[in-house]
């Protein structure tokens, strides 16, 4: 985090030294993009706060079920619609692992959680456009499923 500020400060100083007008233009452009998308960031924050509240119990119930296939599907779906920071997601994954949930299901959950952004849709749409956002998330969802299956094979939980 501090390094981000150091890099930004150095970049600003160097840029200003070489070309003050260009630097000002750059700052203006950056600010314009920021102010244009700020409402989407705020909306996203509100959505996440709400979803995070109800998701933890759902995850523990649905991922821990007997049928591995259903567990995998629900891990992918729940991972896609929720969003949580690492310091909540990983301890949760640890709990699931201790309860005997297979690695495959946990991989599916963690990967889908990161890759597929259901709640980030309003934000992503602004930068990538509707079509690219939808298709990219569909692709990510498939990829998350494939990665989970690979991990299931590596941990010898599924046999082909």
């Amino acid at each position: 985090m501090i390094s981000l500020y150091i890099v930004t400060a150095v970049a600003l100083v160097v840029s200003f030294f070489f070309d003050p007008t260009k630097t000002k233009n750059g700052l203006k452009k950056g600010f314009m993009k920021f102010s244009k998308t700020l409402p989407s960031y705020l909306k996203l924050l509100m959505l996440i706060s709400l979803i995070l509240l109800v998701s933890e119990d759902l995850i523990i119930t649905y991922l821990g079920q007997e049928n591995v296939f259903l567990g995998l599907v629900s891990s992918l779906v729940l991972g896609a619609i929720t969003m949580m920071p690492g310091f909540i997601a990983y301890p949760l994954a640890r709990i699931l692992l201790n309860r005997g949930v297979p690695y495959m299901v946990i991989t599916g959950f963690v990967t889908s959680l990161m890759l597929v952004g259901f709640v980030t849709y309003p934000l992503e749409k602004q930068y990538l456009g509707k079509k690219a956002t939808i298709l990219r998330n569909l692709m990510s969802f498939t990829v998350a499923g494939l990665i989970a299956i690979v991990s299931g094979i590596v941990y010898k939980e599924v046999l082909f």
């Binding site: 985090m1 390094s3 981000l4 890099v7 930004t8 970049a11 840029s15 260009k22 630097t23 233009n25 750059g26 700052l27 452009k29 950056g30 600010f31 314009m32 993009k33 244009k36 409402p39 960031y41 705020l42 924050l45 509100m46 996440i48 706060s49 709400l50 995070l52 509240l53 920071p85 690492g86 990983y90 301890p91 994954a93 640890r94 991989t107 963690v110 990967t111 990161m114 890759l115 952004g117 980030t120 934000l123 992503e124 602004q126 930068y127 990538l128 456009g129 079509k131 690219a132 298709l135 990219r136 692709m139 990510s140 498939t142 990829v143 494939l146 990665i147 690979v150 991990s151 941990y155």
Partner: protein
């Protein structure tokens, strides 16, 4: 513009609701507010410097340079550049979306963009260290290594779909 305004109004209502919850000790409202703070803290710290950097990138980065490493004239090495750039992007997808948009308008190919955005959420270095320490190095290694070919393959496939329609990402600084 009206849409943006309504979003601000909703946000204002949210703040009001949270304040009332804190005052009357309404537990449900307070939990939402606490969750909000967790994410808001990161965003407030990361977004301003990130957008300063994106603005500077916009004025300084030459189109030819981007094209050479991420665009039409680039080699398959562009996937490695995309993943490396993603792993050094602080703030995950929140920051990766605007960066991807800027990269596109500088001439990057869609497959580079998709690889970049998708891996930005997957290859965050601090997150990966945390994951490995809690779930084991093997777990993280399997997950990350197996994802690389899938992400690159998926991105190439998506590019094929979009190539036919000459798809363009939205422009965000129109009056420039």
């Amino acid at each position: 513009m009206t849409k943006a305004k309504s979003n601000y109004i909703i946000f204002g209502l949210f703040i009001g609701f949270s304040l009332v919850s804190l005052l009357i000790n309404f537990e449900f409202g307070i939990s939402i507010w606490n969750n909000f703070l967790v994410f808001a803290k990161d965003m407030i710290l990361i977004l301003p410097p990130a957008f300063v950097l994106i603005g500077l990138f916009d004025v300084w980065a030459k189109n030819e340079t981007i094209e050479k490493h991420f665009g039409k004239t680039s080699s398959p090495l562009r996937f490695i550049w995309s993943i490396l750039l993603a792993s050094t992007t602080v703030g995950g997808t929140f920051v990766a979306f605007p960066v991807a948009n800027a990269l596109f308008h500088k001439g990057a190919k869609l497959s580079s963009i998709f690889t970049y955005v998708t891996s930005a959420s997957l290859f965050m270095i601090p997150m990966t260290i945390m994951e490995a320490s809690m779930l084991g190095i093997k777990f993280s290694a399997v997950r990350l290594i197996s994802s690389i070919p899938f992400i690159i393959g998926g991105s190439i496939l998506l590019e094929k779909v979009f190539e036919k329609t000459n798809y363009k990402l939205p422009v965000l600084d129109k009056n420039s």
